[in-house]
């Protein structure tokens, strides 16, 4: 009991800080969630041509956003996917057209690849290769000149490039399975 009395300051401080943190949480939480969402939504116009805004869609097991035109029609979808890269997890946004037949864009949200080598996957010139690629067959990254369902790997960062292709393939395949039920909604 004596210990409890001795610790009255700790208990009082604990309650005081608990209250402060609760206050901070209620004040800032909405803004933080908005920041997280904005990061993805701001990319949608560049990932899906014709879309001027995005909207989150509930799909079990996937994080998907619908790209909407001004008149409210769906011009495409954006899938958020993650997977193991060379060094750490890579998180990407993949834009596909309304029927998920072709990829319309790629954006790297998070990566911790080797600076100067693997992190060239964030460069616009490399990501542009994905635009227009069909989704019927999986993509692969090659060192030589690419053709058809291939993209050129970043020089000196083959594993990072292959990882990104893997992430894209898995996410697009999963999404295509779900597209049918999504369109019914």
């Amino acid at each position: 009991m004596k210990y409890l009395l001795d610790a009255w300051l700790v208990i009082v401080l604990g309650i005081f800080f608990g209250g402060t943190l609760a206050f901070v949480h209620t004040t800032l939480d909405a803004r933080i969630k908005k920041n997280q969402l904005d990061e993805t939504l701001s990319q949608i116009p560049s990932l899906v041509p014709g879309a001027c805004r995005g909207e989150k869609v509930e799909v079990p097991g996937l994080t998907v956003f619908k790209g909407l035109r001004e008149d409210g029609a769906t011009s495409g979808w954006v899938i958020q996917a993650r997977g193991q890269g060379f060094a750490d997890t890579i998180q990407v946004l993949i834009g596909v057209d309304a029927k998920a037949d072709a990829i319309t864009g790629l954006y790297v949200l998070e990566q911790k690849e080797t600076p100067g080598l693997g992190d060239n996957i964030t460069k616009e010139t490399w990501r542009e290769q994905f635009k227009g690629k069909g989704t019927a067959e999986p993509l692969s990254a090659v060192v030589a000149a690419p053709s058809g369902h291939q993209v050129k790997a970043v020089t000196g960062a083959t594993i990072s490039s292959v990882s990104v292709c893997g992430i894209v393939n898995a996410a697009v395949a999963k999404f295509r399975e779900r597209l049918a039920e999504l369109e019914k909604r």
């Binding site: 800080f17 608990g18 943190l21 609760a22 901070v24 949480h25 097991g61 060379f86 060094a87 080797t114």
Partner: protein, 230 residues
């Protein structure tokens, strides 16, 4: 089998490839301070690994059952009080709770050592309470409590077995790094180090060279994973 492969790759990745000291820069203060002799360094490494295991387990429990959004215990208490059970999210208290869990774990380890291994307890001296401020342990608890990297498709939370493997192998990686440095430093005592570089300076430069060596391990887990069919 697939799960076993996951555990193996995680162990390899945490202990060697993404070594806590050489890749994430945590635990540098004891790394510079305690790496004078191999026996002290190994003892510190072992103590940190043990505390990490205990602290990670406790913090995983607290996060899973109390702190995360929709946790069961919190929802039950909220239900008793009549509040909306689904919206209880205590994650703002994460940092304070983790550091208290770590401090308590260190206290328990101290009491245990003092009771059952007195000579070891005396040898550690002041370093044992200092493990509380070792970044490694808080870093491991934070990674387990927050990160969702290892779970693609499953709910965004670390499973307990992966969390324990992560913590213990992280500690072992730290032990490996500090023991290597101690071995080098024992030899360094006989060398002629320039005056300005003596002490922490030369330790950091050697750590840089060691970090370069460890960079060579990058990508090993991805390729082993490929060999094992992922």
């Amino acid at each position: 089998m697939d799960h076993l492969v996951s555990l193996l790759l995680l162990a390899l990745s945490t202990a060697i490839i993404n070594n806590f000291v050489f890749h994430y820069f945590v635990g540098i203060c004891p790394y510079i301070g305690v790496s004078r002799r191999v026996d002290m360094a190994f003892g510190m490494g072992a103590a940190v690994t043990f505390v990490m295991g205990v602290a990670s387990f406790l913090s995983w429990m607290v996060t899973y059952f109390v702190l995360r959004p929709g946790a069961s215990l919190t929802a039950w208490v909220a239900g008793l009080a009549g509040a909306d059970a689904g919206s209880m999210d205590l994650s703002i208290l994460k940092y304070a709770v983790y550091i208290f869990v770590i401090a308590s774990a260190v206290q328990f380890v101290e009491m245990y050592l003092r009771r059952f291994f007195p000579p070891l307890y005396k040898a550690f001296g002041v370093f044992l309470p200092l493990i509380t401020t070792n970044c490694c342990i808080l870093f491991a608890c934070l990674e387990i409590g927050t990160d969702k990297r290892m779970t693609s498709g499953s709910p965004d939370f670390w499973p307990l077995d992966l969390a324990l493997v992560y913590a213990l192998c992280g500690g072992m990686g730290f032990a490996l790094a500090i023991t290597i440095m101690a071995g080098i430093r024992e030899e360094l005592d006989l060398c002629d180090v320039p005056k300005a570089l003596r002490g922490p300076s030369i330790v950091l430069i050697i750590a840089g060279i060691l970090a370069m060596a460890f960079l060579g391990f990058a990508g090993v887990d991805t390729n082993i994973g490929k060999l094992l069919g992922r």
